[in-house]
Symmetry: C2
DNA sequence: TTGTATGCGTTATCAG
DNA sequence: CTGATAACGCATACAA
């Protein structure tokens, strides 16, 4: 059945919504009886229940979530703060978040910091003013001062940090094993014969940066390769501006001891690096090898020898949301912080080596507050 | 100032929110006076206003949006239905939508159909049950029956379709000039000397498919190239499953008259086609040329000779949301449907030709209901 | 200029 | 088993 023109005639004329009162009136019952019947309360007779249910069906009754929210003092929505949604990792994570949210009837309000501390604070204020029931956060790159989160936490707002978490602070958190991912990617480059391995990485403010660099350094050290500070380049805005990446790579590639491989520590940096090398006509891996964190399916296609660390973004979103909802719906006080660590997936695409995939098992642990 | 452990001690103990009543009590005023003062009503004396404002500030009063929604019978949120958010075009469009929404204090509830008609219907029900004030829709590929939209439209819910719109039905809509984009991309392939130009395209259910195919055919015809049906391959799920793309391309490439160029009509199809060709080791443009719709920055890097039609996704999101809010907030009846058409941007990257960019001016028109 | 009463839709408490 | 009442937080019509 297709639209007919007539159906679009009344463009702006709202019908009155059916309420409990309407059902009550129609059946000559009280609103409270109807309410109880709809909620399948034990104190209502079977016949009355059936009557009410039938009538609700007939009138197409839809409960008003706003009224329910007001009464219950819970909005049924959670806020999400990420840097960018137009980013494979985060859009996949949001998919995971929403998949859980829909199942449980929550709705998700997404906001983007665009890596700006100021925006993050504004968004947080906005979300708080929408009376959200909980918060999922991945920090912006500029964020150093956490008092805006502290404030909401003190007010009792349940929150879970994921991916980019605050350092050394006891909070609920969901992360991937960044150290391991970085270690293995670096190791893979070493195994392929590269020695002068540089890294293009994010702001040192971010937890993920330091963990990934630690993994990188550990792999080098373990394999007897000296760590060189000149090979470690930070992009404060994580490559949001391509110029950052250009500058960093220009510097790296003009070093007297030019690196023969680069390890990039994020989706954006990996893409950016590919873009740079492609633009300059630098071949991978003939001129320089590349391994990096990436959740973009297409990025890997750029070169068949690109080793990729893929984060289980969807799973992270699911885990973070599930945890948040457990906290929100918990009756008793939460006495410990959960710390969920997922394993990254290493995809080795160098044709000289077999493809290896690390399985993606969860490792859940917690420590007391 | 950094977190101190103590701040995270009370993990689940909500403070009471400050309400108008609290301010009233503190100042020995009535709630209505406070309410009016906060809304800067003319009937309140300057001194009282100042007192109230100061007190609100001191107590950190935040109005409760749920109570306001209940009273005003408007939720302040709009629903968005798209097929996928992990897709450059849609994530950019959502960015545009949110940029307007935040400015005006709306919040955006995003839902994904994953190209399933059933999911679209479920999501729509869910959104309706959240009492949204308006709806932005881009149809799923499976959608043929529009009665679920018709139903909400008849109830007076403001809605705007964007990108994938219902055919031949008067509604508010925001699109890009698909015909033009397809025409120019095809023409570019012809100019580069290709004659056997195939197209990999979406479901014929979608408006965008037919418009793009029309542009493709028109360009061929204008340049005296015969249109061949065997060169037109539909992917019903738009490449959601890679298998679809593989099948279609396998068939195309095994034709006796193997095509020498492919025109892909969507982001996903362009990426998928690149993936296929890369996997098979087929070189672009040495073995086969490629031009396609794409909003993924990185896709273009895959090959420097890839001509791309980029849609102004961010602008579309902005335009659609702005239009929707005009409708929602309009006092009088809307008597005509807006029809906003944006221009696509053609990026020619074949090194044998100069880069040309078609400017991105808007062309707004409407027709009476 | 300020206060009182009422209602938005729902449900919990208390009566009957 | 069912009904009346109050309350969630806010904003208006109506009184004073």
């Amino acid at each position: 059945m297709l639209f007919i023109d007539a159906s679009f005639r009344h463009v702006h004329m709202k019908f009155e919504a059916v309420t409990i009162k309407d059902i009550a009136k129609a059946l000559s019952l009280s609103a409270s009886t109807v309410s109880r019947a709809l909620r399948d309360s034990y104190e209502i007779s079977a016949e009355t229940k059936q009557m009410v249910l039938d009538c609700a069906e007939k009138l197409n009754y839809q409960p008003n979530p706003i009224a329910k929210s007001l009464r219950d003092r819970r909005s049924g929505s959670v806020g999400v703060v990420v840097c960018e949604i137009a980013n494979s990792f985060f859009s996949q994570a949001i998919n995971g978040i929403e998949s859980i949210a829909y199942d449980r009837g929550y709705n998700v309000i997404i906001s983007q910091s665009h890596e700006s501390y100021e925006r993050e604070v504004i968004n947080l204020k906005y979300l708080a003013s929408r009376s959200i029931d909980g918060l999922l956060i991945s920090l912006s790159t500029e964020t150093n001062d956490l008092s805006h989160f502290e404030y909401l936490n003190n007010k009792g707002l349940p929150m879970v940090f994921f991916d980019r978490i605050p350092d050394n602070i006891p909070t609920h958190r969901v992360t991937v094993d960044n150290y391991k991912g970085a270690y293995e990617a670096t190791e893979q480059l070493i195994r392929s014969g590269y020695k002068r391995i540089a890294t293009l990485t994010n702001s040192a403010y971010l937890s993920i940066t330091n963990e990934r660099i630690a993994g990188y350094k550990a792999a080098l050290t373990y394999h007897g390769v000296a760590v060189q500070d000149q090979y470690i380049k930070h992009c404060f805005y994580g490559g949001m501006k391509f110029l950052e990446i250009e500058d960093a790579l220009n510097k790296l590639l003009s070093l007297p001891q030019r690196p023969d491989a680069i390890f990039t520590t994020s989706d954006k940096l990996t893409s950016g690096c590919l873009k740079y090398l492609t633009k300059k006509g630098i071949r991978i891996p003939a001129d320089i090898a590349l391994a990096g964190f990436s959740n973009s399916e297409i990025a890997e296609l750029l070169n068949p020898s690109l080793t990729v660390i893929r984060q289980p973004a969807f799973e992270m979103g699911k885990a973070a949301m599930a945890l948040l909802m457990t906290i929100i719906e918990s009756k008793h006080k939460i006495t410990r912080f959960e710390n969920i660590v997922l394993a990254p997936e290493l995809i080795i695409r160098d044709s000289s080596r077999p493809k290896r995939i690390i399985d993606n098992t969860e490792n859940i642990s917690g420590f007391p507050v």
